[in-house]
């Protein structure tokens, strides 16, 4: 019998999240993939999970899962795990995913492995690869506790691939205890990001503190436009309030894996690298020849962004006949 591997499915912006599909793909590759989907979701959500290999979906559309943080989902998932005993359960390293895996790992006294970049099943447990400290070193870890192995998976660790199934659907009872309703979500606020979004962009042009002031991000917007890409940023400039958090690339921001990543005035701190190191081609501009970003660059220009970028923009406009 193949190993039962569960994926905790999340909905982001009205769609099953990309990380969910990445994890499902991996689960279906290694064993029998099943998904748990709790709370409101779009009509085609179950079908989407099936397309990416889920042969069964545990489902509740109850709003308790959206109205209260963590506990309702933790109770429901704990009951499901006790009943079906999957070998492994995968969670995205997202806000909800981390809270849920944390609660379950304490509840089952099982521990959990965080920040997993890859894993295999081995000797009745898992062997997970963790690209620690932004990939500057790499661990392999296992869980020695009995029972379901809980893993938190980094986004963009696996390539999503379709493996169509018509999933069987099992209704999940929604917890109703007062105990499960201790953290109420009273409002969800969307901060509307402008311009093309980082996720799924083929080209990402990012800026750091070397750009000196928020208005200089205009150059990056132009560059991104010319290349059909999106603009990203480091946490340093997000924390400084130059650009919104939705643009942050890195360990505590978005993980991107574009064909081309252009880093402008970015030092290449491990936490930034964590979010972009897997890009296919990395180009960087930095005036410090010792900047760590150069160690990860396919082309590095040691120079001033205020010289190099305007020339690049000129050149691109010329070549595109604009």
């Amino acid at each position: 019998m193949s190993d039962l591997i569960w994926v905790y499915a999340e909905v982001v912006e009205e769609r099953i999240s990309t990380t969910t599909l990445e994890m499902l793909t991996k689960a279906a590759e290694l064993g029998a993939a099943e998904a748990v989907l709790l709370g409101p979701a779009p009509d085609n959500a179950v079908a989407t999970l099936g397309e990416y290999g889920a042969r069964k979906v545990y489902r509740s559309a109850d709003s308790v899962f959206a109205d209260y943080l963590t506990a309702p989902a933790a109770d429901a998932v704990a009951a499901l795990i006790e009943k079906h005993k999957p070998a492994v359960m995968l969670f995205a390293s997202s806000y909800a995913g981390r809270d849920l895996a944390a609660a379950l790992s304490a509840r089952f006294d099982s521990g959990a492995i965080a920040d997993v970049g890859d894993f295999i099943l081995k000797d009745g447990s898992v062997e997970a690869t963790i690209p620690a400290l932004g990939g500057s070193y790499q661990n392999t870890s296992t869980l020695v506790s009995p029972g379901t192995k809980l893993l938190l998976v980094r986004p963009k660790s696996f390539e999503p691939a379709q493996r169509p199934q018509t999933p069987q659907v099992e209704e999940v009872p929604a917890p109703a205890s007062a105990e499960a309703k201790r953290i109420r979500v009273t409002q969800r606020v969307t901060v509307k990001p402008e311009g093309p979004q980082l996720e799924g962009s083929n080209v990402v042009v990012s800026g750091g503190r070397g750009l000196k002031a928020p208005e200089h991000f205009e150059m990056l917007k132009q560059l991104a436009e010319l290349l059909g890409g999106a603009v990203g940023a480091t946490r340093a400039v997000v924390d400084a309030g130059w650009v919104p958090y939705s643009m942050q690339v890195g360990q505590t921001g978005k993980t991107v894996k574009p064909n081309i990543y252009i880093a402008c005035g970015i030092s290449g701190a491990v936490q930034h690298l964590a979010g972009m190191k897997a890009s296919k081609t990395i180009i960087s501009i930095n005036k410090d020849p010792e900047a760590p970003i150069f160690k990860f660059s396919d082309l590095g220009i040691v120079g001033d962004v205020f010289q190099v970028l305007p020339q690049l923009l000129e050149e691109l406009k010329k070549r595109k006949g604009k």
Binding site: Y95, A102, A112, Y137, Q138, V144
Partner: protein, 259 residues
Amino acid sequence: MNIIVCAKVIPASSVIIELDPAAKTMVRKGVPHELDPAAASALEEALRLTEKQGGTVTVLTMGIADAVIGIRSALAMGAHSAIHVLDDAVAGSDTLGTAKILAAVIKKENPDLVLCASESSDSYSGIVAGQLAWLLGIPALTFAKEIAVDGKKVTIKRQSLTGYDVCESELPALIAVASGINEPRYPQLKGIMAAKKKEIKKYTAADLGLGADQVGAAGAKEKVLSIGRPPARAAGKIVNDEGEGGKQIADFLAELKVI
């Protein structure tokens, strides 16, 4: 309101982290340490809350003897007292082991509010806070970008992928702050002097009633099998800008058929 801030003390950010492949850990002994900047943000929130509403702030650190330097900076920032879990038996604890130790201390102290950083800056598993809250049986409000406490009610703005969620709960609770929530204050001379006189209570695992099978490397559910450097990326071309840097990038993009 009495607050405990769980603050990790970590190898200073200026230090290149060395690995000990035999012990399968980062080298912590003998390198300069500092208060985790993420923990400093949690402490800053705690200080602001007690400055407004009264109460005390206790910092809680599990760490090696060198961690004292970070505990002192927390005291110099304004924490009233500190607790240091210092014991060779806790070395090598995994996330859950760490949470158990912190929980054992916190149960003794019985605070109204526990503050953590959502992620520590050196290991950033981002799950210790959630595990700790579960062990304490209190709600975990994580990834907080803004905190308000009104009587027994706590409200946070919680970071989301698309903006933020407003969440509320009742004390006692645990709040884990998101990075960038504030600009932590620098210790002033007066604070640094005062810190020297503040108490640092010390506990061992045994003091906390925790057996060796529950904590440290022996009690860890997560076992590190190996630790090493990932394969290096092939070296790229690094050129000095001699006035042609922009053109060189454009040529490279053309080669890659992006333009």
